[in-house]
């Protein structure tokens, strides 16, 4: 199986998903963190319905960015520490696939739970039912892009403090934040939000090849 790229991809995916599911903290923590951050806003700002619903797009997206950053450090650090990453590189299988698989795993254990939780957040922040679809669409594209950026940040700050990867990644996540909130805000104002989604999709389309390649390059910095 392992002689084809997809075989290699499924092997990594199966292994990493197994590790992730054996330890529930990996996929529960971002979810709980997201919900706690969302809860803080009504507590800090007061429970007025109009205020909360107008702030909701920003709240959801800030909570998403922070929650997805939370698990960034774990993308490569464990494999790096126990030597698995060395073996991946020695195996001569394409390292691009390895990075892509890692990004996919990170998205599965943070992006997906956050998307589920975002509906709860939308309900408690009094967002209208019509905005649920645009929230989910913007989150699919946005969290995938965040996982890509996160992988690059994690690779660059491998073996260093986790806060460094956050500082590296956050300035680059601002376009995602702007586009994501614009999607939700325009859907609430019953405007056309498709244009923002297209830009997010375009960012993702450029990001998958470019950021994965740069992440490979960043990982190789540790193996000179």
């Amino acid at each position: 199986m392992s002689n084809s790229i997809f075989g290699w991809l499924t092997i990594i995916l199966r292994r990493d998903l197994l590790i992730a599911f054996r330890r529930s903290a990996t996929y529960i923590t971002p979810l709980i963190f997201f919900l706690i951050v969302v809860t803080f806003f009504p507590l800090a700002l007061g429970p007025q319905e109009s205020l909360l619903s107008s702030l909701a797009p920003g709240v959801i997206w800030i909570a998403t960015l922070l929650a997805s950053l939370l698990a960034v450090e774990s993308i490569f650090s464990e494999d790096f520490r126990d030597g698995t990453l060395d073996n991946f590189f020695i195996s001569l299988e394409p390292s691009f696939v390895l990075v892509f698989a890692k990004v996919l795993i990170h998205w599965l254990i943070t992006g997906l739970p956050i998307m589920a939780a975002s509906i709860i957040a939308a309900i408690v922040l009094y967002l209208p039912f019509d905005s649920f679809l645009p929230i989910l669409l913007s989150l699919i594209l946005g969290t995938s892009f965040m996982s890509l950026l996160g992988a690059l940040g994690a690779a660059l700050s491998l073996g260093k403090s986790a806060i460094l990867s956050a500082i590296i990644v956050l300035p680059f996540s601002i376009p995602t934040l702007l586009m994501g909130t614009s999607v939700i805000t325009s859907s609430i104002n019953s405007q056309d939000y498709f244009g923002f989604l297209m830009i997010m999709g375009a960012m993702l389309a450029i990001g998958i090849p470019l950021l994965c390649l740069l992440t490979v390059e960043a990982l190789l910095l540790n193996y000179d």
Partner: protein, 237 residues
């Protein structure tokens, strides 16, 4: 050029020339702009901050493009000197970006009535400032300088995506900030008495960048090669 001692010797010859050109261009441009060029009929004398604001804005962006090109060369061909150039240019670019933000708010207070607005041009420039900070921060955390250069190179390639956003922000969004002053395709919207000193200021700023980049790069080269024979020879004799 590629080898450090060669660069060091060559740069000591061009530094005085860069310094003199910078001094001449900047003093001519700023004097012309601040004292000679006519008063703007709408803004009065306030507009004269333009002669600092616009060149620093252009420099802040072009230095980032320069850094991304250096980064690209460093990642693909592993050219050490381009990594050092990237490192030497980053603080200069960050300073210019800070200067744009500061002069912009000083200019904004009397004309727009506020120090800061969350407008697309201003916000994207602020992001550029944060990206500079991220690059410099990342460099300082990696001990091996060559690796630090490559890490920053990788990040600068991603960061360069912000430049077209800043450039186009005044066209894509409704903003308070006025459209571009400089366009290559059409003739300037200002009168030549105002436009020419701005052009000279811009050239002066570019020369200043070349001057300070060379100085920074020399320090960087000396710092990294301090244990090599040629550095010891240069400083013992």
């Amino acid at each position: 050029m590629g080898s450090p001692p060669l660069f060091y010797n060559w740069s000591s010859k061009i530094i005085p020339w860069l310094g003199i050109t910078t001094l001449v261009l900047l003093s001519l441009g700023i004097y012309w702009g601040l004292f000679v060029s006519p008063i703007d009929y709408k803004q009065g004398d306030v507009y004269r901050i333009l002669y600092i604001h616009v060149p620093s804005a252009i420099l802040g962006e072009s230095i980032f493009i320069f850094m991304a090109i250096c980064g690209f060369i460093n990642v693909i061909w592993r050219a050490k000197i381009s990594g050092m150039m990237l490192k030497a240019a980053a603080p200069i670019g960050m300073s210019f970006t800070l200067l744009v933000l500061v002069t912009g708010s000083v200019w904004g207070k009397p004309t727009w009535g506020t120090w800061w607005v969350w407008d697309a041009r201003l916000t994207s420039t602020l992001i550029l400032f944060f990206i500079y900070a991220a690059l410099i921060g990342l460099h300082s955390t990696i001990e091996d300088k060559t690796k630090a250069d490559r890490a920053v190179s990788i990040l600068s390639i991603v960061g360069v995506a912000i430049i077209p956003v800043i450039k186009k922000s005044v066209d894509w969004w409704q903003t308070l900030h006025q459209p571009s002053t400089f366009t290559i395709t059409s003739s300037p919207s200002m009168s030549p008495e105002m436009y020419l000193p701005l052009l000279i200021c811009l050239l002066g700023f570019y020369m200043f960048f070349a001057f300070s980049l060379t100085l920074n790069l020399r320090n960087e080269v000396l710092d990294r090669e301090r244990s090599k024979a040629w550095v010891k020879q240069n400083f013992n004799s």
